[in-house]
Amino acid sequence: MRIEARNLGWREIVRGVSVEIRKGETFGLVGPNGSGKSTLLRLLAGLMPRAAGEVWLDGAPLAQLSRRQIAQRLALVEQFADTGEALSVRDAVDLGRTPWLSPLSPFGPEDRQIVDRALAAVGMEGMAARAWATLSGGERQRVHIARALAQEPRVLILDEPTNHLDIHHQLALLGLVAALPVTVVMALHDLNQAMMCDRLGVMSDGRMVACGKPAEVLTPDNLARIFRVRAQPMIDPSDGSTLFRFLPMETST
Amino acid sequence: MPNLPLIPRRGLRAALIAAPLVAAMPALAQTSYPLHLSNCGVDLTFEAAPQSVVSVGQAATEILYALDLGDRVLGTSVWFSSVLPQFEAVNAGVPRLADNDPSFESVVALRPGLVAVQYEWHIGPQGIVATREQFADLGIPTYTLPSDCVGKDNSTGSDGTRLDMYTMDSLYQGVEELAQIFDVPERGTAMVAALREREAAAIATAGALALDDASAVFWFSSAEMDIDPYVAGQGGAPAYMMQALGLRNVVESNEEWPVVAWETIARANPSVIVLARMDRRRFEADDIERKLEFLRTDPVVSQMEAVREGRIVILDAHGMDPSIRNIDALETLSAALAGFDLQ
């Protein structure tokens, strides 16, 4: 599914963001803390009240879709989402089916299979009966992603999905996401992981200051200006990919 | 009278001990001061008749008026219904401090020589106006009508609980003691004698009916029209009236005005229903017309014998509280019974 944002804005926090994300693309958002990444993701999901600008999904304006129609197309995993309810892992993932259910089509065996597959995709199939409160941070993050997968969206919006995950699960998740036939938009902090995206948008102070292929965007110059770090690009001889080594800015500059 | 000559011989101490006894002697034309009284657990001493009084409670107010002491009343409070017609003129000249509870300060500000109290829940151990000590601390004596404390425990039940059946004697005692305090004992004696005579006549009228198994319920009011009503319990003024006239009270609670379910009352099926008529319009059921309508229309209550036979008596609500109006109520009820076919 193709996403077009035109002149998106919310108060002073996100200003004039226009971007087109292609069908099936994995699009990364990077930027310092407070630069507006989460806000922009929520804007793309149509969740900010009184937003400026427009979002179009496959040529249809988001504003004209009902919440249910949006949720059938687009799933969002937010940075912080917790519950006090004594839900089990399966209960939480079942919630992903919500936009597809109605009194006339209640939760059925097909939905159960979809939930099973989503659990398996994040490696949580063995913990389906565990209570939410007993899960570790990384396990919770994976359940959230399973819930988003169970929603069977055509656009997956993830806010720092690798947060809390161990290195194995970080790589597994990014591999999973890249392999999905859906459009993915995600905010990331690890710039080496960001290098795996098809394209990147760089947020700074509410504006998208750069957008393009990772190698074009994450130039040492940009990194110094936006992230205030000195980045040393290095080539991995095994596959020729670029890695960064980060160093503090020199005090003299 | 025979006690009087003994006083000089036994000396002053003995005289003090004997004082209440002496005070209770009805035939004295003059009170001998200092007057000692034991009043609802408080010992009172009067060196002279108080020059002024504030009344807290309509029953106390009307006793003072009946004793022709209206000119000493500085203010009245706690009114349940309009004043008796014979006291309208005198009452018109007396300021009304409050329709309901007066504030402590408004009473004190009048600097009364006495505060005459009908109910302990206004002025008493848990009094909402003040305790008696608070008045005593300011040198203001309080007199509580014995009808609210003799044989009554005011610490339990919402309106207190009668340990012994109320009788007119406690009220007569209040009349006579107030007369003594104000140095008009002969007025008290005469008033009580007249009341006793009317009481006996009313009882005789009912006695002539030779009631065998007649019963009654007194319905005061209800917080909501259909809700369980406030009815007279065992031991209060209505219970006394029923007993005196040969009626059995179908309500068994010892509280003064307990809440009892209509199903219990209907099942007990009393032969007579007595309704309270009042000026108060706080609850819908305060209105006598609404009470009568309920009796006619409620699917269960309308089936009761008393309703079907029309054996309904309407009494002044204040006549159901201990007061000189009890005698009016007793007369009305007795006359009504004579008109019913209760055999």
């Binding site: 949720a71 | 307990p258 219990t264």
Partner: protein, 346 residues
């Protein structure tokens, strides 16, 4: 398997559970009409049913039959409606504001009802044309309106609603105390307190025809929203991204809750603890999913309040204890037990 087949496969256990619930409720109602202050012959229920439902002629004592049919049956039905309505309101509010302490009176409805009732009886508001119940309903509705406006002005989140509810309740409780202090004597205040603690003794058939439809409607609204309610588990943002029209759902559900509680409070006074304890007890028994929690809480609330009403009638012979006292007496220890057992489990 198609969805339709899945539906019928699910229908069997659902139907049998619904059947079990109906039997439980019927037994509770039977107990409610047979146990009371006055002992009635046991055969009377059967005889009465024969007369009322089958039209068979039987000679019945009019007073006994009347007590059963005109007093106890409506009273028991309203108790059931009231218990179900309060429990449902508790479930819904706890889900919407994501606070385990939310109860039906959170929105200031009960405080408003109290103030309304007192205003009518003590201040003579409405000049006698408005009864206690109408005053209570008016008070409940205006309190809710104030709370809702305040919550909206404060940002409109669940925390703001809780805080606005507390502020509104305090305001209306203070008004009640003020009215009482200003113009009541002790006897009047007592009548009101009795009413405020909950009293079912004045319930008649017209009240049934108000309470049952309102609670029935509320139940259907809740049933239709079991999935949205589940979706609120991770907050309203998560609910929105799951396709829930958050504003509309909140509006519809809060309207249903307000209508139910305001109606019930105006009919029988504010009965505490049911709306708090029953939902938690049922979460413990059937889990947090609303598809089960909603019907289970409605049923348990209904049965619990019928039982509490029976206890209120027979606890002190010849006298009635306010039902709110009974629910709190049973509810508080019951709640403590749930808390302790819950901790052991997790």
């Amino acid at each position: 398997m198609t969805r339709r087949a899945a539906l019928s496969a699910l229908a069997v256990p659902v139907l049998s559970r619904a059947g079990l619930g109906a039997v439980l409720l019927a037994l509770a109602v039977l107990a409610g009409v047979t146990i009371g202050e006055v002992a009635l012959p046991l055969g009377l229920v059967g005889d009465l049913l024969a007369v009322k439902l089958l039209g068979i002629e039987r000679a019945l004592d009019p007073i006994e039959a009347g007590i059963l049919w005109s007093y106890r049956l409506p009273r028991t039905l309203v108790a059931a409606a009231c218990g179900a309505g309060l429990a449902l309101s508790g479930v819904v509010l706890q889900a919407l504001v994501r606070n385990a302490l939310a109860d039906p009176y959170l929105l200031g409805v009960s405080a408003g009802a109290g103030a309304g009732a007192v205003a009518v009886t003590l201040l003579g508001l409405g000049g006698g044309a408005i009864g206690l119940s109408a005053g209570a309903f008016g008070g409940a509705a205006s309190a809710f309106l104030i709370v809702a406006l305040l919550a909206k002005a404060a940002g409109g989140g669940p925390a703001q609603l809780v805080l606005a509810g507390i502020a509104g309740s305090q305001l209306f409780n203070a008004l009640t105390s003020f009215f009482i202090a200003k113009s009541a004597n002790a006897e009047q205040a007592r009548g009101l307190m009795f009413w405020l603690l909950g009293n079912l003794s004045g319930v008649r058939w017209p009240d049934v025809s108000l309470a049952l439809p309102v609670v029935g409607l509320g139940f259907l609204v809740c049933l239709a929203h079991v999935r949205p309610l589940d979706a609120f588990s991770f907050g309203s943002g998560a609910a929105a991204s799951l396709g829930i029209a958050v504003r509309r759902v909140q509006l519809v559900l809060i309207a249903a809750v307000t209508l139910m509680t305001a109606t019930l409070v105006s009919l029988v006074g504010s009965i505490g603890f049911v709306g708090l304890v029953i939902p938690h007890a049922m979460r413990f028994l059937v889990g947090p999913r609303h598809a089960r929690l909603i019907p289970a809480s409605a049923l348990a609330g209904a049965v619990f309040l019928i039982a509490a009403d029976i206890a209120a009638r027979v606890l002190i012979p010849g006298q009635v204890v306010p039902i709110g006292v009974v629910t709190a007496l049973v509810g508080a220890p019951g709640f403590a037990l749930i808390l302790i057992r819950n901790r052991r489990r997790s």
